[in-house]
């Protein structure tokens, strides 16, 4: 999926993550700041990458401000940001795009 503009999702509340996505310069670039960086920094990066990959996104700049979000929250926020940045409707009924 190709990103067309900046897409944002999530909040800065505790246990949430705020994802900002924009078209990249070829490849995936992640800038992460997290309250649990030491313990879960790698896990968060892995989760973001895997979610982008599952949606066929391979050219994006990701800014993630994490306040201790669980993996399921990270996935949901990344998916929503991708849909907004790619200007596609998210199918809430299924597990698709």
């Amino acid at each position: 999926m190709e990103l067309k503009k900046v897409g944002v999702s999530g909040t800065l509340e505790s246990s949430d993550v705020m994802i900002t996505l924009e078209p990249g310069n070829g490849g995936i670039e992640i800038e992460l700041s997290s309250t649990v960086e030491k313990q879960f920094g790698n896990a968060i990066r892995r989760e973001i990458l895997a979610t982008l990959e599952s949606m066929g996104v391979n050219n994006a700049r990701v800014t993630a401000v994490d306040k201790g979000a669980l993996d399921c929250v990270i996935r949901a926020r990344v998916k929503t940001a991708v849909c907004r940045a790619a200007e596609v409707e998210y199918n809430w009924g299924g597990d698709g795009q």
Partner: protein, 512 residues
Amino acid sequence: MRKIDLESIPYREELHEINKVFNVKKVTKNTRTLAEREIHHNKIVGSLEEAEQRAGLKNGMTISFHHHFRNGDYVVNMVVDKLAEMGYRDLVLAASSLTDCHAPLIKHIENGVIRRIETSGLRGKLAEAISHGLMDVPVVFRSHGGRAGAIEKGELPIDVAFLGAPSCDPYGNANGYIRDTAEGIMCGSMGYAKSDATYADKVIIITNHIVHYPNTPFAIPESDVDYIVKVDEIGDPAGIMTGATRYTTNPKELLMAELASKVIFASGRFQDGFSFQTGTGGASLAVTRFLKDKMLEKGIKASFALGGITGSIVELHEQGLIKRILDVQSFDLRAAQSLRDNRFHHQISAGYYASPYSEGTAVNQLDVVVLSALEVDTSFNVNVLTGNDGIIRGAIGGHPDTSFGASVSIVIVPLTRGRIPCVVKQVNTVVTPGKTVDVVVTDHGIAVNPLRKVLRQRMIDNGLPVYTIEELQKKAEQLVGVPDPVQYTDKVVGVVTYRDGSVIDLIYQVKD
């Protein structure tokens, strides 16, 4: 008067110090009034500097402080600033605890005024700097009971104690409140200072409020006090205590508090005349509320409540539900006022509270204690000292003392805090050994120490959600995943001691 020949006294060598004859010329009677004596004949010295010199303070000596002013304390920084200015070096700072407001100590550690620290806990910038390797000599952490025991046994000898007091008379009777006016500083109990005052070589009271003799009932008696210094300010009331500690409204904490109270009801200890302590922390404090309702319903009265005392305990006392309060530290204004006004709200020293060397110590008379924790592991070991990032951010307090003393010790801990698991395979720092921890209460159910088989069965019989501690740990892991381990260097920055002074764990410098 009869002429006395000392040589005529048989066996005089056995009568110790009987070696001089009375000389009437040495007796000079002071006929001044009390008011005049208070002004002209007292222990008040002109300045902190003078008190330090007269106390004979030398480089390398041990100075002590109490933490009853919590985050509003001015005394530690004021005294150490002065000592630095006077050129003292290599001092040992033995405080009953240190907190955020003591960050200025960093510069005195860097410039060599403070060589090492003994404390119950550390927080804020000072804690972070020490965790990052600020000091050459590791900090020694002691529980409140462990510290009192070490002072009693001479393992922690104090040369000069600098004890802030909200009121003091000209002879040294000191208190944590002022009886005659509603103004001024109020900290309530001075329990931790009492042990220092009894055992320190020299005791200097630092007060902003001199009252008339006799300042009774006193926290610290004049017989323990050498010098008094009057200063303008000893603390910031807002940092010392708030009006009354409010019950938490956080639903997760209330859920855990209610579950913990059910554990108490099912424990077999909830009967007339029982004794208890509820520690700090939202959930642990809120247990008192659930206790109260059940006590009224069942017509049960507690013989005593112990520990850090809050307004909620005072409320039960004033309603006749708790007969006596033993108060080593007052947590809010309501508790401090009650200490001042209620006959059976009694002030006790750290040693009376929790010394490991007395069978009669108050913690040993506890039926139930409810405590909080940063982390608990599958061996029931508890950490209240280091955060999930390995950085020091807490205090031992009376955790290991009460956990050991109480017949049922209950530790409340959420299964996770945000993404951080709090029931883990191995805690960062062991403060309280699992052998003395009986029930762990989480927001996802409870676990009972397998050593307490009868207790566990009682919980099951009463329909409580009992799991194994391993099941709770796995549940936490399923929710948040497995964190990467904290990275440490091999430099020891903290030595954690158990109540008897033995080393129970080490804290290492964190890697940046």
